[in-house]
Protein backbone atom coordinates (compact mmCIF):
# COMPACT_ATOMS: atom_id res chain seq x y z
CA UNK A 1 0.00 0.00 0.00
CA UNK A 2 2.72 2.45 0.92
CA UNK A 3 5.23 3.51 -1.65
CA UNK A 4 7.71 4.92 0.86
CA UNK A 5 8.29 2.49 3.57
CA UNK A 6 10.84 3.75 6.09
CA UNK A 7 9.63 6.56 8.31
CA UNK A 8 11.41 8.60 10.98
CA UNK A 9 9.24 10.45 13.50
CA UNK A 10 10.78 12.99 15.89
CA UNK A 11 9.12 13.74 19.21
CA UNK A 12 7.44 10.34 19.27
CA UNK A 13 7.31 9.70 23.03
CA UNK A 14 3.91 11.31 23.41
CA UNK A 15 1.11 13.29 21.81
CA UNK A 16 1.03 13.77 18.05
CA UNK A 17 4.35 12.02 17.50
CA UNK A 18 3.20 8.92 19.36
CA UNK A 19 -0.12 8.77 17.50
CA UNK A 20 1.72 9.34 14.21
CA UNK A 21 4.26 6.57 14.84
CA UNK A 22 1.44 4.14 15.62
CA UNK A 23 -0.58 5.21 12.58
CA UNK A 24 2.34 4.92 10.17
CA UNK A 25 3.15 1.48 11.58
CA UNK A 26 -0.47 0.49 11.01
CA UNK A 27 -0.23 1.84 7.46
CA UNK A 28 2.65 -0.53 6.84
CA UNK A 29 5.73 1.62 7.32
CA UNK A 30 8.76 0.63 9.32
CA UNK A 31 9.00 3.42 11.84
CA UNK A 32 12.05 4.80 13.64
CA UNK A 33 11.10 6.83 16.69
CA UNK A 34 12.99 9.72 18.23
CA UNK A 35 12.64 11.82 21.30
CA UNK A 36 15.16 13.77 23.34
CA UNK A 37 15.72 10.82 25.71
CA UNK A 38 14.28 7.33 25.98
CA UNK A 39 12.71 7.27 29.42
CA UNK A 40 11.09 3.95 28.62
CA UNK A 41 8.26 5.31 26.52
CA UNK A 42 10.15 5.14 23.23
CA UNK A 43 11.35 1.59 23.78
CA UNK A 44 7.85 0.51 24.81
CA UNK A 45 6.47 2.10 21.64
CA UNK A 46 9.18 0.55 19.49
CA UNK A 47 8.41 -2.85 20.97
CA UNK A 48 4.71 -2.40 20.19
CA UNK A 49 5.17 -1.36 16.58
CA UNK A 50 8.34 -3.29 15.83
CA UNK A 51 10.12 0.03 15.45
CA UNK A 52 13.59 1.37 16.05
CA UNK A 53 14.58 3.77 18.84
CA UNK A 54 16.85 6.64 17.75
CA UNK A 55 16.75 8.92 20.76
CA UNK A 56 18.68 12.17 21.11
CA UNK A 57 18.41 15.93 21.09
CA UNK A 58 17.86 16.98 17.49
CA UNK A 59 19.35 20.42 18.18
CA UNK A 60 22.74 18.66 18.26
CA UNK A 61 24.04 18.24 14.68
CA UNK A 62 26.00 15.12 15.64
CA UNK A 63 22.78 13.54 16.87
CA UNK A 64 20.76 14.17 13.70
CA UNK A 65 23.53 12.73 11.53
CA UNK A 66 23.91 9.67 13.76
CA UNK A 67 20.14 9.07 13.93
CA UNK A 68 19.75 8.96 10.19
CA UNK A 69 22.83 6.75 9.79
CA UNK A 70 21.44 4.38 12.40
CA UNK A 71 18.16 3.96 10.51
CA UNK A 72 20.03 3.59 7.25
CA UNK A 73 22.24 0.85 8.69
CA UNK A 74 19.27 -1.02 10.11
CA UNK A 75 16.71 -0.71 7.32
CA UNK A 76 17.90 1.54 4.50
CA UNK A 77 17.25 5.18 3.66
CA UNK A 78 14.55 7.16 5.44
CA UNK A 79 11.92 7.95 2.81
CA UNK A 80 9.38 9.62 5.09
CA UNK A 81 10.50 12.21 7.63
CA UNK A 82 7.95 13.51 10.12
CA UNK A 83 9.41 16.67 11.66
CA UNK A 84 7.33 16.82 14.81
CA UNK A 85 9.59 17.34 17.84
CA UNK A 86 9.09 20.70 19.46
CA UNK A 87 10.21 22.76 22.40
CA UNK A 88 7.65 25.13 23.88
CA UNK A 89 7.48 27.48 26.83
CA UNK A 90 5.01 30.29 27.28
CA UNK A 91 5.70 33.68 28.76
CA UNK A 92 4.86 37.33 28.18
CA UNK A 93 7.02 38.67 25.38
CA UNK A 94 9.01 41.15 27.52
CA UNK A 95 9.77 38.44 30.08
CA UNK A 96 11.01 35.92 27.52
CA UNK A 97 14.77 35.53 27.73
CA UNK A 98 17.18 35.15 24.87
CA UNK A 99 18.35 31.69 25.86
CA UNK A 100 14.77 30.45 25.75
CA UNK A 101 14.28 32.12 22.37
CA UNK A 102 17.31 30.28 21.00
CA UNK A 103 16.15 26.97 22.46
CA UNK A 104 12.94 27.28 20.40
CA UNK A 105 14.92 28.07 17.28
CA UNK A 106 17.60 25.44 17.91
CA UNK A 107 15.16 22.55 18.39
CA UNK A 108 12.14 23.40 16.30
CA UNK A 109 13.80 25.07 13.34
CA UNK A 110 17.53 24.36 13.19
CA UNK A 111 17.13 20.78 14.40
CA UNK A 112 14.75 19.92 11.61
CA UNK A 113 16.73 21.99 9.09
CA UNK A 114 19.70 19.72 9.71
CA UNK A 115 17.59 16.60 9.89
CA UNK A 116 16.25 17.35 6.42
CA UNK A 117 19.84 17.82 5.24
CA UNK A 118 20.64 14.40 6.69
CA UNK A 119 17.73 12.53 5.07
CA UNK A 120 17.61 14.10 1.60
CA UNK A 121 20.61 12.22 0.14
CA UNK A 122 18.93 8.92 1.00
CA UNK A 123 15.62 10.10 -0.47
CA UNK A 124 17.44 11.10 -3.65
CA UNK A 125 19.05 7.69 -3.82
CA UNK A 126 15.65 6.06 -3.29
CA UNK A 127 14.21 8.25 -6.07
CA UNK A 128 11.47 9.80 -3.94
CA UNK A 129 10.60 10.94 -0.46
CA UNK A 130 8.11 12.73 1.72
CA UNK A 131 8.82 15.33 4.34
CA UNK A 132 5.91 16.11 6.64
CA UNK A 133 6.48 19.13 8.85
CA UNK A 134 4.38 19.70 11.95
CA UNK A 135 3.96 23.46 12.23
CA UNK A 136 1.27 25.08 14.36
CA UNK A 137 -1.96 26.98 13.96
CA UNK A 138 -0.40 29.54 16.27
CA UNK A 139 2.18 30.46 13.64
CA UNK A 140 -0.65 31.09 11.18
CA UNK A 141 -2.82 33.27 13.41
CA UNK A 142 -0.48 34.28 16.24
CA UNK A 143 -0.98 33.63 19.95
CA UNK A 144 -0.23 35.71 23.03
CA UNK A 145 2.67 34.57 25.21
CA UNK A 146 3.86 32.12 22.58
CA UNK A 147 5.83 34.45 20.31
CA UNK A 148 9.08 32.46 20.26
CA UNK A 149 7.27 29.17 19.68
CA UNK A 150 5.10 30.65 16.93
CA UNK A 151 8.08 32.32 15.26
CA UNK A 152 10.04 29.05 15.23
CA UNK A 153 7.03 27.26 13.71
CA UNK A 154 6.54 30.04 11.15
CA UNK A 155 10.14 29.40 10.15
CA UNK A 156 9.16 25.79 9.51
CA UNK A 157 6.39 26.92 7.17
CA UNK A 158 8.87 28.96 5.15
CA UNK A 159 11.17 25.91 5.18
CA UNK A 160 8.28 23.76 3.91
CA UNK A 161 7.55 26.11 1.03
CA UNK A 162 11.19 26.49 0.07
CA UNK A 163 11.85 22.77 0.24
CA UNK A 164 8.65 22.14 -1.71
CA UNK A 165 9.96 24.22 -4.57
CA UNK A 166 13.58 23.10 -4.34
CA UNK A 167 13.13 19.37 -3.78
CA UNK A 168 9.79 18.89 -5.59
CA UNK A 169 11.47 18.53 -8.99
CA UNK A 170 13.51 15.67 -7.50
CA UNK A 171 10.40 13.78 -6.41
CA UNK A 172 10.77 14.75 -2.75
CA UNK A 173 7.48 16.26 -1.60
CA UNK A 174 7.45 18.55 1.42
CA UNK A 175 4.18 19.62 3.02
CA UNK A 176 3.19 20.78 6.49
CA UNK A 177 0.36 20.45 8.96
CA UNK A 178 -0.63 23.35 11.22
CA UNK A 179 -2.73 21.82 14.00
CA UNK A 180 -4.88 23.83 16.37
CA UNK A 181 -5.78 22.57 19.84
CA UNK A 182 -5.11 18.85 20.18
CA UNK A 183 -6.06 16.57 23.05
CA UNK A 184 -2.53 15.70 24.19
CA UNK A 185 -0.55 15.70 27.44
CA UNK A 186 0.04 19.42 26.90
CA UNK A 187 -3.57 20.02 27.91
CA UNK A 188 -2.81 18.94 31.47
CA UNK A 189 0.10 21.39 31.55
CA UNK A 190 -2.18 24.15 30.30
CA UNK A 191 -4.84 23.19 32.86
CA UNK A 192 -2.31 23.30 35.69
CA UNK A 193 -1.07 26.71 34.49
CA UNK A 194 -4.64 28.02 34.41
CA UNK A 195 -5.49 26.39 37.73
CA UNK A 196 -8.48 24.51 36.33
CA UNK A 197 -9.39 20.87 35.76
CA UNK A 198 -8.44 18.98 32.62
CA UNK A 199 -12.11 18.72 31.61
CA UNK A 200 -12.61 22.44 32.09
CA UNK A 201 -9.49 23.14 30.01
CA UNK A 202 -10.74 20.86 27.23
CA UNK A 203 -14.13 22.61 27.30
CA UNK A 204 -12.56 26.07 27.28
CA UNK A 205 -10.46 25.24 24.22
CA UNK A 206 -13.37 23.54 22.46
CA UNK A 207 -15.57 26.59 22.97
CA UNK A 208 -13.04 28.67 21.05
CA UNK A 209 -13.07 26.32 18.06
CA UNK A 210 -15.68 26.96 15.35
CA UNK A 211 -16.65 23.26 15.20
CA UNK A 212 -16.89 23.12 18.99
CA UNK A 213 -14.34 20.42 19.67
CA UNK A 214 -10.60 20.04 19.66
CA UNK A 215 -8.68 17.55 17.56
CA UNK A 216 -7.54 14.14 18.70
CA UNK A 217 -3.93 13.08 18.13
CA UNK A 218 -5.34 10.53 15.67
CA UNK A 219 -6.85 13.35 13.57
CA UNK A 220 -3.38 14.82 13.12
CA UNK A 221 -1.81 11.39 12.60
CA UNK A 222 -4.39 10.91 9.83
CA UNK A 223 -3.17 14.08 8.16
CA UNK A 224 0.41 12.81 8.37
CA UNK A 225 -0.66 9.48 6.90
CA UNK A 226 -2.29 11.34 4.00
CA UNK A 227 0.77 13.50 3.32
CA UNK A 228 3.10 10.49 3.56
CA UNK A 229 1.00 8.27 1.33
CA UNK A 230 -0.02 7.85 -2.31
CA UNK A 231 -3.25 9.91 -2.15
CA UNK A 232 -1.31 13.18 -1.79
CA UNK A 233 1.14 12.74 -4.67
CA UNK A 234 -0.07 15.97 -6.31
CA UNK A 235 0.64 18.11 -3.25
CA UNK A 236 3.82 20.03 -2.59
CA UNK A 237 4.57 23.06 -0.42
CA UNK A 238 1.07 23.01 1.09
CA UNK A 239 -0.03 23.65 4.67
CA UNK A 240 -2.94 21.53 5.91
CA UNK A 241 -4.93 23.16 8.69
CA UNK A 242 -7.05 20.60 10.55
CA UNK A 243 -7.89 23.14 13.23
CA UNK A 244 -11.67 22.92 13.36
CA UNK A 245 -11.85 26.29 11.63
CA UNK A 246 -9.65 28.33 13.99
CA UNK A 247 -7.09 29.26 11.37
CA UNK A 248 -9.57 29.60 8.50
CA UNK A 249 -11.63 32.19 10.31
CA UNK A 250 -8.75 34.24 11.71
CA UNK A 251 -5.99 34.34 9.12
Amino acid sequence: MTEHEIALVTGAAQGLGLATARRLARDGYRVAVNDVVDDGRLSALAKDIDGLVVSGDISDPAVTTAMVRRVDDAWGPVTVLVANAAYMTMSPFLEADTADWWRHIDVNLSGHFRLVQAVVPGMRAAGSGRIVVIASGWCVIGHPNATAYAASKAGLIALTKGLGRELGPQGILTNAIAPGFVDTEQLQVDADDAGISLDEMRRRYADGVPIGRIASPDDIAGAVSFLAGPLSSGMVGQILQPTGGITRTRA
Partner: protein, 235 residues
Protein backbone atom coordinates in the same frame (compact mmCIF):
# COMPACT_ATOMS: atom_id res chain seq x y z
CA UNK B 1 -5.85 2.45 4.68
CA UNK B 2 -9.47 2.98 5.47
CA UNK B 3 -11.45 0.08 4.14
CA UNK B 4 -15.07 -0.38 3.20
CA UNK B 5 -16.13 -0.08 6.85
CA UNK B 6 -16.01 3.71 6.45
CA UNK B 7 -17.66 3.68 3.05
CA UNK B 8 -20.96 5.40 2.39
CA UNK B 9 -23.00 6.96 -0.36
CA UNK B 10 -21.48 9.67 -2.54
CA UNK B 11 -23.08 11.99 -5.05
CA UNK B 12 -20.63 13.53 -7.50
CA UNK B 13 -21.72 16.25 -9.90
CA UNK B 14 -19.76 16.06 -13.12
CA UNK B 15 -19.13 12.38 -12.41
CA UNK B 16 -19.03 11.32 -16.04
CA UNK B 17 -15.55 12.60 -16.86
CA UNK B 18 -12.33 14.14 -15.60
CA UNK B 19 -12.03 14.91 -11.90
CA UNK B 20 -15.59 13.83 -11.10
CA UNK B 21 -15.12 10.46 -12.79
CA UNK B 22 -11.82 9.95 -10.95
CA UNK B 23 -13.59 10.67 -7.64
CA UNK B 24 -16.28 8.11 -8.46
CA UNK B 25 -13.69 5.53 -9.46
CA UNK B 26 -11.64 5.91 -6.28
CA UNK B 27 -14.72 5.89 -4.05
CA UNK B 28 -16.10 2.76 -5.73
CA UNK B 29 -12.74 1.05 -5.40
CA UNK B 30 -12.92 1.78 -1.65
CA UNK B 31 -16.41 0.33 -1.29
CA UNK B 32 -18.56 3.44 -1.63
CA UNK B 33 -21.80 3.49 -3.55
CA UNK B 34 -21.67 6.32 -6.05
CA UNK B 35 -24.10 8.45 -7.97
CA UNK B 36 -23.32 10.91 -10.72
CA UNK B 37 -25.23 13.96 -11.82
CA UNK B 38 -23.90 14.98 -15.20
CA UNK B 39 -25.09 15.93 -18.66
CA UNK B 40 -23.59 12.63 -19.77
CA UNK B 41 -23.98 9.09 -18.47
CA UNK B 42 -21.44 7.96 -15.90
CA UNK B 43 -20.07 4.61 -14.78
CA UNK B 44 -21.61 4.77 -11.31
CA UNK B 45 -24.24 2.87 -9.31
CA UNK B 46 -26.75 5.58 -10.19
CA UNK B 47 -26.28 7.93 -13.12
CA UNK B 48 -28.67 10.85 -13.49
CA UNK B 49 -28.34 12.95 -16.63
CA UNK B 50 -29.23 16.54 -15.82
CA UNK B 51 -27.90 20.09 -15.97
CA UNK B 52 -26.58 21.27 -12.58
CA UNK B 53 -27.64 24.84 -13.38
CA UNK B 54 -31.30 23.75 -13.24
CA UNK B 55 -32.34 23.79 -9.58
CA UNK B 56 -35.46 21.70 -10.01
CA UNK B 57 -33.64 19.03 -12.02
CA UNK B 58 -30.94 18.84 -9.36
CA UNK B 59 -33.55 18.47 -6.61
CA UNK B 60 -35.27 15.57 -8.32
CA UNK B 61 -31.93 13.97 -9.13
CA UNK B 62 -30.98 14.09 -5.45
CA UNK B 63 -34.35 12.59 -4.49
CA UNK B 64 -33.75 9.74 -6.90
CA UNK B 65 -30.27 9.08 -5.54
CA UNK B 66 -31.57 8.98 -1.96
CA UNK B 67 -34.39 6.64 -3.02
CA UNK B 68 -32.00 4.29 -4.78
CA UNK B 69 -28.92 4.36 -2.55
CA UNK B 70 -30.00 5.89 0.76
CA UNK B 71 -28.91 9.09 2.49
CA UNK B 72 -25.96 10.92 0.94
CA UNK B 73 -22.80 10.96 3.07
CA UNK B 74 -20.60 12.82 0.61
CA UNK B 75 -21.35 15.46 -1.98
CA UNK B 76 -18.62 16.39 -4.43
CA UNK B 77 -19.40 19.31 -6.74
CA UNK B 78 -17.12 18.82 -9.71
CA UNK B 79 -19.43 19.78 -12.58
CA UNK B 80 -18.02 22.58 -14.66
CA UNK B 81 -16.35 23.55 -17.88
CA UNK B 82 -13.46 25.73 -18.91
CA UNK B 83 -12.85 28.42 -21.49
CA UNK B 84 -9.56 30.21 -21.97
CA UNK B 85 -7.83 32.61 -24.30
CA UNK B 86 -10.47 35.32 -23.89
CA UNK B 87 -9.71 38.96 -23.09
CA UNK B 88 -12.25 40.33 -20.65
CA UNK B 89 -13.81 42.49 -23.33
CA UNK B 90 -14.36 39.37 -25.44
CA UNK B 91 -16.41 37.61 -22.81
CA UNK B 92 -20.01 38.44 -23.69
CA UNK B 93 -22.67 38.63 -21.02
CA UNK B 94 -24.13 35.25 -22.03
CA UNK B 95 -20.80 33.55 -21.35
CA UNK B 96 -20.55 35.16 -17.93
CA UNK B 97 -24.07 34.08 -17.10
CA UNK B 98 -23.55 30.52 -18.28
CA UNK B 99 -20.25 30.12 -16.44
CA UNK B 100 -21.69 31.48 -13.19
CA UNK B 101 -24.88 29.45 -13.60
CA UNK B 102 -22.98 26.18 -13.99
CA UNK B 103 -20.06 26.61 -11.58
CA UNK B 104 -21.49 28.79 -8.80
CA UNK B 105 -25.16 28.07 -9.45
CA UNK B 106 -24.52 24.37 -9.92
CA UNK B 107 -22.68 24.21 -6.60
CA UNK B 108 -25.46 26.13 -4.86
CA UNK B 109 -28.13 23.91 -6.39
CA UNK B 110 -26.41 20.69 -5.36
CA UNK B 111 -25.61 21.91 -1.85
CA UNK B 112 -29.16 23.23 -1.36
CA UNK B 113 -30.63 19.89 -2.37
CA UNK B 114 -28.27 17.70 -0.32
CA UNK B 115 -27.60 19.75 2.82
CA UNK B 116 -31.04 19.37 4.49
CA UNK B 117 -30.66 15.57 4.55
CA UNK B 118 -27.18 15.87 6.01
CA UNK B 119 -28.30 18.32 8.69
CA UNK B 120 -31.19 16.03 9.57
CA UNK B 121 -28.75 13.18 10.24
CA UNK B 122 -26.16 15.56 11.70
CA UNK B 123 -23.48 14.08 9.49
CA UNK B 124 -22.07 14.53 6.05
CA UNK B 125 -19.27 15.94 4.01
CA UNK B 126 -19.38 18.47 1.19
CA UNK B 127 -16.33 18.96 -1.02
CA UNK B 128 -16.51 21.64 -3.69
CA UNK B 129 -14.00 21.58 -6.51
CA UNK B 130 -12.62 25.09 -7.00
CA UNK B 131 -9.38 25.93 -8.78
CA UNK B 132 -5.86 27.06 -8.03
CA UNK B 133 -6.61 29.94 -10.43
CA UNK B 134 -9.13 31.28 -7.88
CA UNK B 135 -6.25 31.64 -5.39
CA UNK B 136 -3.67 33.11 -7.73
CA UNK B 137 -5.74 34.89 -10.34
CA UNK B 138 -5.31 34.31 -14.04
CA UNK B 139 -5.54 36.21 -17.31
CA UNK B 140 -7.79 35.31 -20.25
CA UNK B 141 -10.28 33.20 -18.32
CA UNK B 142 -11.82 35.76 -15.96
CA UNK B 143 -15.34 34.37 -15.95
CA UNK B 144 -14.10 30.92 -14.96
CA UNK B 145 -11.80 32.27 -12.25
CA UNK B 146 -14.47 34.58 -10.85
CA UNK B 147 -16.93 31.68 -10.64
CA UNK B 148 -14.38 29.40 -8.96
CA UNK B 149 -13.50 32.19 -6.52
CA UNK B 150 -17.16 32.64 -5.68
CA UNK B 151 -17.32 28.94 -4.87
CA UNK B 152 -14.57 29.44 -2.27
CA UNK B 153 -16.49 32.27 -0.62
CA UNK B 154 -19.61 30.13 -0.58
CA UNK B 155 -17.82 27.15 0.93
CA UNK B 156 -15.99 29.12 3.63
CA UNK B 157 -19.21 30.79 4.75
CA UNK B 158 -21.31 27.64 4.60
CA UNK B 159 -18.64 25.81 6.61
CA UNK B 160 -18.93 28.36 9.39
CA UNK B 161 -22.71 28.33 9.22
CA UNK B 162 -22.88 24.57 9.84
CA UNK B 163 -19.72 24.37 11.96
CA UNK B 164 -21.49 23.22 15.12
CA UNK B 165 -23.26 20.40 13.30
CA UNK B 166 -21.69 17.15 12.16
CA UNK B 167 -21.53 18.37 8.57
CA UNK B 168 -18.15 19.39 7.16
CA UNK B 169 -17.80 21.72 4.20
CA UNK B 170 -14.49 22.23 2.43
CA UNK B 171 -12.98 22.83 -0.98
CA UNK B 172 -10.28 21.30 -3.12
CA UNK B 173 -8.44 23.69 -5.42
CA UNK B 174 -6.73 21.64 -8.13
CA UNK B 175 -3.85 22.88 -10.18
CA UNK B 176 -3.98 22.36 -13.95
CA UNK B 177 -5.28 18.82 -14.26
CA UNK B 178 -4.99 16.41 -17.14
CA UNK B 179 -8.67 16.14 -18.07
CA UNK B 180 -10.70 16.62 -21.26
CA UNK B 181 -11.51 20.15 -20.03
CA UNK B 182 -7.98 21.20 -20.92
CA UNK B 183 -7.86 21.48 -24.68
CA UNK B 184 -4.94 19.91 -26.52
CA UNK B 185 -3.65 23.41 -27.29
CA UNK B 186 -4.28 24.82 -23.79
CA UNK B 187 -1.55 27.11 -22.47
CA UNK B 188 -1.51 24.90 -19.36
CA UNK B 189 -0.23 21.98 -21.42
CA UNK B 190 2.73 23.88 -22.85
CA UNK B 191 6.12 22.53 -21.75
CA UNK B 192 7.34 26.07 -20.95
CA UNK B 193 4.55 26.38 -18.39
CA UNK B 194 4.91 22.88 -16.96
CA UNK B 195 8.60 23.38 -16.24
CA UNK B 196 7.65 26.24 -13.89
CA UNK B 197 5.77 23.78 -11.66
CA UNK B 198 7.71 22.09 -8.84
CA UNK B 199 6.30 18.74 -9.98
CA UNK B 200 6.97 19.63 -13.64
CA UNK B 201 3.73 18.08 -14.85
CA UNK B 202 -0.05 18.39 -14.86
CA UNK B 203 -1.95 17.07 -11.86
CA UNK B 204 -3.63 13.72 -12.43
CA UNK B 205 -7.40 13.51 -11.86
CA UNK B 206 -6.72 10.65 -9.44
CA UNK B 207 -4.68 13.04 -7.30
CA UNK B 208 -7.68 15.34 -6.91
CA UNK B 209 -9.75 12.31 -6.01
CA UNK B 210 -7.13 11.45 -3.38
CA UNK B 211 -7.62 14.78 -1.63
CA UNK B 212 -11.41 14.45 -1.84
CA UNK B 213 -11.22 10.94 -0.40
CA UNK B 214 -9.05 12.10 2.48
CA UNK B 215 -11.50 14.88 3.35
CA UNK B 216 -14.40 12.43 3.12
CA UNK B 217 -12.86 9.80 5.37
CA UNK B 218 -10.57 11.64 7.78
CA UNK B 219 -11.53 15.27 7.37
CA UNK B 220 -13.61 15.90 10.48
CA UNK B 221 -11.26 18.68 11.68
CA UNK B 222 -11.42 20.70 8.46
CA UNK B 223 -13.87 23.58 8.43
CA UNK B 224 -13.93 25.80 5.34
CA UNK B 225 -10.44 24.73 4.31
CA UNK B 226 -8.99 24.67 0.83
CA UNK B 227 -6.83 21.64 0.03
CA UNK B 228 -4.50 22.18 -2.89
CA UNK B 229 -3.27 19.26 -4.94
CA UNK B 230 -1.81 21.61 -7.52
CA UNK B 231 1.66 20.27 -8.42
CA UNK B 232 3.06 23.34 -6.68
CA UNK B 233 1.36 25.90 -8.92
CA UNK B 234 0.38 27.93 -5.84
CA UNK B 235 2.39 27.48 -2.64
Amino acid sequence: MTGSDAAGVALVTGGASGIGAACCALLRERGWRTASLDLNAADTDVSVQADVSQARAVRSAVERVVDDLGPIDLLVTAAGYYEEGLDVADIPRERWDRMLAVILGGTVNAVSAVLPGMLERDRGCVVAISSELALAGSATDLHYVAAKGAVLGLIKSLAVEVARTGVRVNAVAPGPTDTPLLAADSIWREPEYLTTLPLGRLVRPQEIAGAVYYLATEGSQYCGEVISPNAGAVI
